[in-house]
Symmetry: C2
Subunit: 359 residues, 2 copies
């Protein structure tokens, strides 16, 4: 057990954006919410999965939809805890702790907010080890946990409870509800006992994200390379250095789909890189050949200070370093590749691990 302080949240938000692989949302608003809640209610206890009793209930807390709309459609602040408590009421069981579904992006800080508000410990783990765009894309789902009952709450006071036949129907129905609620909602789903969390969660991701954030901040202070620090923590690879020459985005489907084109400045390998994304970065093509692909992590970092750049913030002229990082082993199983591999995202190629592509 350690305590999460306001300072930790600052680092968590930066590190979570690295694990967010371009998506998962700008953690800015979630960071403000989590910091405010800690200032008001005190530090949050971050417990390891080992500290979790097998028979106690863990109820995740998350935001669903397009994080960008949160900047104009502010949460009222009550939704995340309302969603979690609605699960408690609906199932008749009390939460022992909460957990992040998605360590990357805004969903790293929302559970901290909920934990602080409800006085619950937060488990140092998540269901992705990164960010993914859809509800079934979590290790819990791969392990057979039902996403439902699921709760969606909006800032107006509306609440929807879903009970579905499978996790894909949770995705379909909660997505349409979230769009109708104005493209964002606060959710709770994947209710699990401690034993299941121990078995299925990606462990240590909260403290990893904090550590990544802290090393970026410290490296900059000490005039060292923040990118080297990130690569060492994540066992990652430098894929490309270059500048953004074009960005295309399409938001019509409820996701941010598009691609960014980079041309080399100090050529690392090849002379151009294309990054294709659906909320998250899916594939990096170096001179037309795959350099990294889902489910491995691909993140664009500011070349000067190592700050992660989310897909919505990519713009012409930015100098970036694109890095690739190996994903959690569960995503490399047959079931994992089926759920989140390149073919799921309509790429006609087999998954090749970044370690093979980069060497």
């Amino acid at each position: 057990m350690r305590e999460l302080t306001v300072d930790d949240i600052e680092c968590l938000a930066i590190g979570a954006a690295v694990l967010g692989t371009g998506g998962g949302g700008d953690p800015y608003l979630g960071k403000l919410m989590a910091k405010q809640a800690i200032l008001e209610r005190g530090n949050v206890r971050l417990i390891t999965t080992d500290e979790l009793p097998d028979d106690k209930l863990v109820i995740p807390s998350a935001m669903m939809g397009a994080p960008a709309v949160l900047l104009e459609k502010l949460p009222n602040g009550g939704e995340p805890e309302k969603a979690l408590q609605a699960i408690e009421t609906y199932t008749g069981k009390k939460a022992f702790a909460t957990i992040s579904i998605e360590a990357g992006g805004i969903n790293s800080t929302i559970p901290v907010y909920t934990a602080a508000r409800l006085g619950l410990p937060l488990v140092d783990a998540d269901g992705m080890g990164r960010a993914f765009p859809e509800i079934p894309m979590v290790t819990f789902s791969i392990g057979g946990v039902k996403a439902s009952p699921m709760i969606c709450c909006d800032e107006k006071g509306n609440m929807v409870i879903l009970e579905t036949v499978d996790n894909q129907w949770v995705e379909t129905l909660s997505r349409t509800v979230t769009v109708a609620m104005g493209l964002s909602s606060m959710i709770s789903c994947y209710v699990m006992d401690g034993k299941t969390v121990k078995k299925l969660a990606v462990k240590g991701t909260m403290s990893l994200a904090i550590e990544i954030g802290r090393r970026i901040v410290e490296s900059n202070r000490e005039k060292k390379s923040p990118i080297d620090a990130i690569l060492s923590l994540t066992r990652g690879f430098r894929l490309f250095e270059g500048k953004v020459t074009d960005v295309q985005r399409d938001l019509t489907t409820g996701f941010v789909r598009g691609k960014a084109l980079f041309s080399g400045i100090e050529t690392y390998k090849g002379s151009s890189l294309i990054l294709e994304f659906q909320n998250e970065n899916l594939i990096a093509l170096l001179d037309g050949e795959p350099a990294a692909m889902v489910p491995d992590l691909i993140t664009a970092l500011d070349r000067e200070n190592g700050t992660p750049i989310t897909t919505e913030h990519l713009k012409y002229g930015q100098r970036v370093v694109v890095i690739g990082m190996p994903c959690d082993p569960v995503w490399r199983t047959d079931e994992g590749i089926k759920q989140v591999g390149p073919r799921y995202f309509k790429y006609d190629m087999d998954y090749t691990p970044i370690e093979e592509l980069a060497t």
Copy 2:
């Protein structure tokens, strides 16, 4: 109290289509379901609102969406009772009886089905005295009853529970859920006590629909005019006799929107009539001038046998009589007109009662 028999259901389905004003759905499938349930479980007790204890709970049962899809996407049969029972579980209260939300169309027979399956009495009343396309368009809503908690169940086994800040949000969220479920769902909403039902429901509509149906059948058997019989039961007016010369429909918005053009055969008044509809017939224009408008009832009947023709069954060459019938007085109040008057449906005109227009 009277008992509803299989024979009554046959008449109910016909009469409900007259009150359905072109919409409310073809009652065919609901009729089969209700008859089957009565054959299996016995007759349904139809009780008057006077027989309803003030403090007992009434939980409505209905179908939402596009009734036309039910002909291909058959209910599994368990959804209507599952929706009602889910409200019981969610509120922790037992239903004393069920009730129709909408006497017109398929929602006249679905509650009979649910009543038979659950052994509940059915209240001889409804929330419209006709059919309307949207959830808040019921007398219960005008009287301040909350539509939520609302349950939507689909034939696959998915269930959604809605808790909203107002009845318009129930409409928005349940509509989007129903579309995602494949354009139809079985629902329960507007939970009320007996006292509220007595105060707000349109009374006697089930027995009125049965009586209309019975008189159509009998008139045909006795070679009398079924149309005269309908007009006498509903205090209605004959607006036009003619044949269908054109029908336009657009289903893209989740409703059936469109219009039908009729030209006179034995001209009653004027030489052409246009019927505009959104699921239900909204306005009849006789040589360009309003002859009847929402919330009054407008129904097209087969000129030979008085069978009501729903908007989806209107087709070129049909010989029809178009009739208009006065709506329940609650729809003529300021609040009623605001909710379902011509301006709500984007017509730039004030509501004029059919009695004034027809004389």
